[in-house]
């Protein structure tokens, strides 16, 4: 029987027609559940991978395993101040930045002007936290690629940051430090010295990290040209933070839409340049984080000398009851643009707090980056997005 079959059906990708055989030789697709318990999904993310051998045909993320009803809780709270500990628990490795965004939003609603001292301390804390968060992102990314040692180097350095936080407010992970209109505690006397010590200690370590991981041949092989996200696609997906900058878009809310006192500092916005591969690949996203840590050090060093004297709680309102209004405030967290949409209805608790989590939006671009990649690449791409499930699911 002389038969030739040609499949144009979308389901039969990779079909090969054998003349005279009548039956196409094709490989079958397999559905592979990556997660919710998997070492490299950075939490309880489930990725439904449709794979053809090692090649990924489609990725369907399933989220919500860590949904803790942040928005429902926020509406049920007695007052605005009580929401801050919940905000801490969204992006739990960059809690300071979450608090900062929420506090700024509430202050704008209440039309409060916070003292200078508070602003400076907030900026230092936020930047220290940014370094801490990037250290985890970089360390775990190395571990995703298979290098274990950089992970512990990063944690060693992060420990110093956590020590500073611990001295200041007693907590190491979830601080409840930045309050609406002020701070929970003033910084200890040795704070300035400690922060300076850290900057001095940490700068050389970035070079060590680069030598060990960033410019490692195998690491570059694994991350360059993988998961390329072109700039237009990135903007259309609304991704932000290092993911957007990795695609070559010079966009940082600290510069482009300044909040707090970021307009007073001199720093660069690192962007991906496609040095070792295509612009917008995993290595670019990774490298943006490394450079951002240096810039954060710059900001801290500029800010730490200028902390004015004053009281950190003088502007904290006794009773928080904003007029009926609504606003959207966004700040730059280590992961990207964190937005708070708050609807106040004139009572002591908000009618609606919608969070625009950067990880949630960045993760939605994952399928676009993963199609046609290999299973190992999915890990590399997911790691380069740097998600925190606490924030994706809220």
């Amino acid at each position: 029987m002389e038969a030739t079959l040609t499949y144009t059906d979308e389901k039969n990708r990779g079909a090969v027609t054998i003349p005279g055989f009548g039956r196409p030789l094709r490989s079958e697709e397999m559905v592979l559940n990556m997660g919710p318990q998997h070492p490299s999904t950075h939490g309880v993310l489930r990725l439904e991978l449709v794979v053809d051998g090692e090649v990924v045909v489609d990725v369907i993320p399933h989220i919500g395993y860590l949904h803790r009803c942040f928005e429902k809780h926020a509406e049920a709270m007695i007052n605005y101040q009580q929401i801050i500990p919940y905000a801490d628990r969204m992006d739990y490795i960059a809690a300071m930045n979450n608090e900062l965004g929420y506090a700024i939003a509430c202050e704008k609603l209440l039309k409060i002007k916070v003292p200078e001292r508070v602003e400076y301390i907030r900026v230092i804390m936020a930047e220290l936290q940014r370094i801490g968060s990037h250290l985890i992102a970089i360390g775990t990314y190395g571990m995703d690629i298979g290098a274990f040692t950089p992970f512990l180097y990063c944690f060693r350095d992060r420990e110093r940051i956590l020590d500073i936080f611990e001295q200041t407010c007693g907590a190491r992970l979830l601080y409840n430090y930045i309050w609406i209109g002020g701070l929970s505690h003033d910084v200890p006397a040795s704070f300035v010295e400690k922060v300076k010590d850290f900057c001095k200690y940490y700068r050389p370590n970035i070079k060590e990290l680069n030598d060990l991981l960033s410019y490692n041949k195998i690491f570059i092989e694994r991350t360059a040209n993988v998961g390329v996200l072109p700039a237009e696609v990135a903007i259309n997906y609304g991704v932000s933070g290092p993911v957007l900058r990795g695609s070559g878009v010079k966009w940082d809310l600290r510069k482009n839409d300044p909040y707090s006192i970021y307009d007073r500092f001199d720093f660069e916005i690192p962007v991906g340049k496609g040095l070792v591969g295509t612009l917008g690949d995993c290595w670019d996203r990774y490298m943006v984080r490394v450079h951002e840590m240096e810039q954060s050090l710059n900001i801290i060093e500029q800010a730490v000398d200028k902390i004015p004297a004053g009281d950190v709680q003088s502007a904290v309102p006794k009773r928080i009851r904003p007029d009926a209004a609504e606003l959207y405030i966004r700040t730059e967290t280590p992961k990207g643009e964190l937005g708070y949409y708050i609807v106040a209805d004139g009572t002591t608790s908000p009618a609606r707090v919608k969070v625009r989590p950067p990880c949630f939006v960045n993760l939605s671009a994952l399928p676009a980056m993963c199609r046609g990649a290999m299973i190992s690449d999915v890990i590399a791409i997911l790691g380069s997005i740097d998600i925190v499930l606490g924030e994706v699911d809220r």
Partner: protein, 159 residues
Amino acid sequence: MIPQEISNAIKAKFPDALLEAKVDGVFDPYAKIAPDKIKDVSLFLRDNEETLFDSLMCLSGVDYTGGKLGVVYHLHSMKWNHKFTLKVDVTVENPHCQSVESVWKTANWHEREAFDMYGIVFDGHPDLRRILMPYDWEGYPLRKDYKVPEYYQGMKVPY
């Protein structure tokens, strides 16, 4: 462009789509759009050279109580660095609204979330499933009249 100009541009292009505009006395100036016109307006705002709203910062569902639901779109232009807010009001009885997923991919998951939490149905969305709650969850948790169910799949929900 200042917000007044943006709202005028919408009015000039879609006279019957613009239901209300408020640019003064609010934090974020907004325009209220008819639910069945939101996609066209979005597409216009995105592609018009003068507005160029190429990114959707946030899409939120809101329950205004009294059977009124709403969707709020926060737009931003990377090039012009201006912002604008669009609002769509729907009712609990007829919670249908056009999807803007084809305009901004950001809307994909945000619309799923608004559907998940408020039951707002986005017509034209390619994959409108629940996103944060389990797929077989009943009810829309962020509605103000939502009651926490006592049982989920025969298991008692601890409270």
